[in-house]
Symmetry: C2
Subunit: 251 residues, 2 copies
């Protein structure tokens, strides 16, 4: 007679999973204690093993239940059908991978860029490897700084949705700014936006001091990876931004 966590640890699934299996009737405990605790026996363990076997095969739980419960269900046939399905899936995967490969090859080759617009953003050949070193490089350069540690601290608990919201806010500021490029980097509204972006960084990453902000501005134009991305808001926007921040940070 095993309690739920013992079973869970024994076979390597979560307690929640067992709760779920109970809920959908896939695996009921042998009995309930007076306190409501679920108790499992060897029989249930065996069944659980079977369930996990089929699950490994990516058979949906619904069908596992039928396979194990329904005497009229032709299991051999089901398994075969399922295999065919997996084969098709793999073929599809192969094609997709080929497609990605050829896309990347085209990018690297630089010739025959029929899809130039579509793939333009991928640009440059070695950016790929550079990117791999990117984090390490950053860490080496700035790892000891207060800003870096602070940022690590603040961001480590962000969830996907948080990131998206933050990025959206940041992008929004840039968009607004990009609308005013004609007015020049010293425009009052532009300067307001520059200020709010600094605040944005401080709020979400680290205390963005004037020095840091100024350094960021330099990076925006000196590092091609940034320049390229920022220019998505408009040609030359990176330089505009650089100037705007520099003006803001003057004293």
């Amino acid at each position: 007679m095993l309690k739920i966590k013992e079973v869970a640890d024994l076979v390597g699934v979560s307690v929640r999973t067992l709760h779920h299996y109970d809920q959908i009737g896939l695996l009921k405990p042998e009995k309930l204690e007076e306190n409501g605790y679920r108790l499992y026996n060897q029989i249930e363990l065996d069944r659980l093993q079977q369930i996990l076997f089929f699950k490994e095969m990516e058979v949906p739980l619904r069908m596992i239940k039928r396979i194990l419960d329904d005497p009229f269900f032709d299991q051999m046939h089901a398994l075969k059908v399922h295999k065919d399905l997996l084969l098709k899936k793999r073929d599809r995967l192969d094609r997709i991978i080929d497609s990605i490969n050829s896309s990347m090859d085209k990018l690297k080759g630089g010739r025959e860029m029929t899809d130039q617009e579509r793939f333009e953003p991928f640009g440059m050949t070695e950016i790929e490897e550079q990117q791999k070193k990117y984090e390490a490089e950053i860490k080496e350069k700035y790892g000891h700084t207060k800003a870096y540690k602070e940022s690590q601290q603040k961001t480590k608990n962000y969830k996907v949705t948080d990131w998206e919201k933050i990025q959206q806010e940041g992008n929004h500021i840039y968009e607004e700014m990009a609308k005013r490029t004609a007015s020049g980097p010293q425009d009052r509204k532009v300067q307001e936006l520059v200020a709010s972006y600094q605040q944005h960084i401080t709020d979400n990453f680290y205390e963005c001091t004037t020095e840091i902000y100024s350094g960021l501005a330099d990076m925006y134009v000196s590092d091609a990876r940034f320049t390229k991305n920022i220019d998505k808001f408009g040609e030359g926007f990176a330089f505009f931004l650089h100037d705007a921040i520099k003006f803001y940070c003057r004293k």
Copy 2:
């Protein structure tokens, strides 16, 4: 200026999909007409093409949005990471397929059945091909009968959940019956269950007359595929069931 269905038909997605993309902000129509209709332009069509490209790559919509919207998102890197992910996925698929193959091989070979209990239900070597001919065979034999046509008619609109409910009901009756095997096929309760099973068939498939029911009983013991499955409720249960139905159908 294209209306939503025109766009949908043009690129081969559903209207609902476009609604969805609008909802999550992945693809907004260029404008709304006064009547609320969505209107799309070439720009949106282009973007939609890009979306579909990444979707083909199995990139989640969330990420597609970021790829297309967020200038700071490193797309080349993302694509590469994604490719690696797909490669892993394929490897896993390969392993699973191998696993299924070896399982089936073991079954066919009949030797080394270390997992005998687990795979026992798959049984017999050629059942596989037989199964393929099964439907055709049935159709040839009974295709002209009223019961067959009636069943086709009744069942063609059943959904997965319907099937499951029906099978569950059927199994339940058998289970109850299996509990009473000791009392013999003529037991009152058993006979009640036999009657309710006939009704069950009539309700869900076709009018199960006494003759048909009697024929079914014969099939249960003469066709190994049925016998094997039915015996899941207990050893010899197929024979018990046969006798019970025969007794019920006597006159």
